[in-house]
């Protein structure tokens, strides 16, 4: 398995871990371990109405588990277009969530940001491989 592929899988599994942590916190009602300083406030974000998928009681972080879990599986296959498409979906979600944090709430959740960075890193791998145009099969 190529190094880039392994890196993407590792990043995806790390994302599953972060999302799982945030989901467990949501259901246990415990505040996350996170500094509260100025614009950084995990609790403010995770207790807002945007912390659940609209119209449901499902935490947004549960969607993160699904996305990262699927990402880990997808990167197990050799399919550049699928990697790119799934990454694009993740990137759009990150842009939306960052919009919520900055524009709607005015605060940043560090744990959420960690998950966002993982998505962006996966996107970068997918885009790099796609630009190279040689795919994983050629030892990218």
């Amino acid at each position: 398995m190529a190094r880039a592929q392994l890196a993407a899988i590792a990043l995806s599994l790390a994302g599953v871990g972060v999302s799982l942590y945030l989901t467990l916190l949501h259901f246990s009602g415990v505040a996350p371990t996170c500094p509260v300083s100025g614009a950084i406030n995990c609790e403010a974000v995770l207790s807002s109405s945007y912390a659940v998928i609209a119209g449901t009681s499902v935490p947004t972080s549960a969607a993160g588990i699904v996305w990262f879990g699927a990402s880990a599986l997808i990167w197990g296959w050799r399919s550049d277009p699928l990697h790119l498409a799934w990454s694009a979906i993740g990137l759009l979600a990150v842009v939306y969530l960052v919009f919520i944090e900055i524009v709607r709430l005015g605060v940043i959740c560090l744990w959420c940001t960690a998950a966002h960075f993982l998505v962006v890193a996966i996107v970068m791998i997918a885009v790099t491989l796609s630009l190279r145009g040689r795919g994983l099969g050629r030892g990218a």
């Binding site: 009602g29 960052v98 919009f99 709430l105 962006v120 970068m124 885009v127 796609s130 630009l131």
Partner: protein, 275 residues
């Protein structure tokens, strides 16, 4: 001279450097984040300075002495009827009268919105004192929503008791705690654990605000109070409409007392809606 034809040279293939893709993504994301920060800068109302004690009293006096015709003109207005009938032992207060119980937090914009109609409605049955002007948190949706806090307020009425608990201050520091019995009510009727939670004598209960806090965005306390004088204003339709729904529920608790409030056409119509 040689007649040998020169071999055509192969045009070098331009490889895109590996760093171009990630760099482009990082640059685009940086622009997106910067744009969001600018939007936030332009759309966030500045943290309002709460009015002086005298002005606060004047505003409270203004919103608690609205003429009956104002309530009749607005009816339900644009208020969303969140009030649900509940079954349980009738909730009574310290003086043995049916109790309205409110649990909220000063940081919470929905609590900020709902306090206005609560104050307007309860003031038709009694008198508040000690209400202080404040606003919801700056770091939350609907930031800096103008409102009043119940933290040091007292309420007297010959018809109902009122107990308001503000669980956190504007900066989310713990403030007041509900009693064990009140916590049980909250757990029973507010399964999502969200605020504001209002229990109306254990006959009705609801969670949330009956209108969006955005209706108060960027407005001063005085502006909101002035707008309540005009039944066609956005804020009158939202706040007085909500107050009428609350009044109808309280009238159910007090067996339609006082008649001067509860016998109006609007309140009687809304009482039927509540079930």
């Amino acid at each position: 001279m040689s007649t040998k034809r020169a071999r055509p040279m192969r045009k070098p293939v331009a490889h895109t450097p590996v760093w171009v893709g990630p760099a482009a993504i990082a640059a685009v994301l940086a622009v997106v984040v910067a744009t969001f920060l600018v939007i936030r800068w332009y759309t966030t109302p500045i943290t309002p300075t709460p009015p002086s004690v005298d002005t606060t009293q004047q505003v409270v006096s203004q919103i608690t002495s609205l003429p009956a015709s104002e309530f009749e003109s607005v009816g339900q207005g644009t208020a969303n009827n969140l009030i649900k009938p509940v079954t349980g032992t009738p909730l009574t207060g310290a003086t043995g009268k049916p109790e309205v119980f409110y649990l909220g937090g000063e940081f919470c914009p929905y609590c900020a919105a709902e306090r206005w109609p609560l104050i307007v409605a309860l003031s038709r049955f009694g008198t508040f004192s000690g209400l202080q002007a404040t606003s919801s948190s700056s770091t939350i949706e609907f930031p800096n929503t103008p409102t009043f806090t119940f933290r040091n307020a007292t309420y007297t009425s010959q018809y109902v008791d009122f107990r308001g608990v503000e669980s956190s201050d504007r900066d989310r520091n713990p403030l007041q705690s509900p009693t064990a019995a009140e916590q049980q009510l909250f757990n029973r009727y507010d399964t999502q654990g969200t605020i504001p939670f209002v229990d109306l004598g254990n006959r009705y209960a609801f969670v949330g605000s009956m209108y969006l806090p955005g209706a108060l965005a960027g407005k001063s306390w005085q502006t909101v109070a002035n707008d309540l004088q005009d039944p066609s204003s956005v804020r009158a339709k939202a706040i007085i409409g909500s107050a009428n729904l609350l009044t109808a529920a309280i009238c159910k608790m007090t067996s339609d007392q006082p008649a001067a409030v509860c016998s109006s056409v609007t309140i009687q119509t809304l009482e039927k809606k509540l079930g």
